[in-house]
């Protein structure tokens, strides 16, 4: 059944896919001289935005790991009524358009939202609001990956640990987490990448103010109209960080095999 035309067709499809997906990324680096890119990185607004992005994503990631990892473990190791529903609800933010995420956060945690009487304006237009938005959009990436990693563990290991007298907590900390480490790290990197790129929900919920809520993607959007080179430079940095994250996922995945 191997027709002579099929292989060239596959190769053409790959070439077209690669060209289309790689071109915009390459253009960010090729559109401007490297010296200009470096120079415009000295822009204080860009540096503020990068610093804020790193801080907020780090805090969001810490929350996601601390709360998400045990939650994923529970979902992976227990069967209970409504489990499928819980898993689906947790995954919904994955497919939400950013604007919908922003509206949802405002409707829930804005001053006029469901919990408005409790949170008031402590989140909107505050750095804490950025962290909330990032956590909301990025957490499902880690949860999904972590759940899959825990489900892939051989249940007899966990049983053996318990039979040997280890408590449930000890089994989780000493057996499950080390065994699932590469999968967990991959989930973390994906969640980090998603959080770094977050734009719409942050703008709608947390606004855009330099040093307080203006993360790197928001700064890029603002600079796009006034200083295209600075916007390109900041984009290049984000691409580099995201690519490094992706690469580390691949390496971790490779090491696990």
């Amino acid at each position: 059944m191997s027709a002579a035309w099929f292989r060239p067709l596959l190769a053409t499809a790959l070439a077209a896919t690669l060209g289309f997906l790689a071109l915009p990324v390459l253009a960010i680096f090729l559109d401007t001289a490297p010296a200009d890119l470096l120079a415009s990185l000295g822009d204080p607004a860009s540096l503020d935005a990068l610093r804020l992005s790193l801080q907020c994503t780090a805090i969001a990631l810490a929350i996601i790991v601390v709360a998400g990892t045990p939650a994923a473990y529970l979902l992976a190791t227990r069967r209970f009524r409504g489990r499928a529903l819980v898993v689906t609800l947790i995954e919904v933010p994955l497919v939400l358009p950013p604007a919908v995420a922003g509206i949802g956060l405002l409707a829930a945690l804005g001053p006029n939202g469901l919990l408005g009487d409790v949170v008031g304006d402590r989140l909107v237009l505050q750095t804490a609001g950025v962290v909330v938005a990032l956590t909301f959009v990025a957490a499902p990436y880690h949860l999904r990956q972590a759940q899959a990693a825990f489900e892939a563990l051989d249940p007899t290991w966990l049983d053996a640990s318990r039979t040997l007298g280890a408590s449930e907590a000890r089994t989780f900390a000493r057996v499950a987490i080390p065994a699932a480490a590469s999968g967990l790290a991959a989930g973390l990197a994906l969640a980090w990448g998603r959080a770094l790129g977050e734009f719409g929900a942050t703008l709608m919920f947390a606004g855009s103010f330099r040093g307080v809520t203006q993360t790197a993607p928001l700064a890029i959007y603002e600079q796009f109209s006034t200083d295209f080179t600075a916007a390109l430079a900041l984009s290049a940095v984000l691409v580099a960080i995201s690519a490094a994250l992706l690469l580390s996922v691949k390496l971790l995945g490779g090491a696990a095999r």
Binding site: L106, G110, P111, N112, G116, D121, V124, L125, L203, M204, G207, S208, F209, R210, V212, T213, Q214, Y221, E222, F224, S225, T226, F228
Partner: protein, 256 residues
Amino acid sequence: MRWAAIVLAVAAVVAGCGGGDEQTAGQPARQPLVVSAAASLKDAFTSYGDSFPGADVKLSFAGSDELAAQIRQGVKPDVFAAANTKLPDELFAAGLVEKPTVFAGNELVIAVPASRAKIDSLDDLAAPGVKLAVGAKGVPVGDYTRKVLDALPAAQGKAILQNVRSSEPDVKGVVGKLTQGAVDAGFVYRSDVRAADDELKAITLPAALEPKVAYGAAVVKGAKHPEQARAFVRGLLDGAGAKALQAAGFLPPPAS
């Protein structure tokens, strides 16, 4: 075989949608006319676009500066309409658009939520703890706002700027922060307050501080439909466009 059936079904649906989109009730397909317009023009241009004869008007709204940056990057809508005259003039000087036309005016006001207004005047904006949203630098509404603040005594202007909690990419972003109760006040156009129905209330600026807000439009060079584009711009001065602008609360073009 199953794949073939799926592909055929999808193709049929796509073809069906396309047909419905382009032709209505046996009329010949109308030309699409792409108009990039300042966010504040949304209501006025939407109603003008619906009634515009001879072309199917496709509107794209954003901060005027974002739209101008797109044009500088080679995007070619048929018409560019900005909330200032500076951006169309710059694009004209760069040879990217035809000679701009000043087609409307507007009034910068302080907007506050109608129901629970903490702010009664410009002086209140400098009080500690007041939260403000403004347009970002480079966005027309942000530049008008900064012009007003620059004209104030330095200490007052600085105190007001320190109360700014968000710099929004367009004027509708400021409106959103106000209607969501995230801020106490913001600088927007009077037409935006009208468009927000009864949710917002306008506080008029002292006449001496009011910036001259003039809207400029131009036909983009290399536009696919230059004739219809010119007709669209002409209609903003007298005709359906001018009526729609007036109905939405815009002023006649200010004398330069």
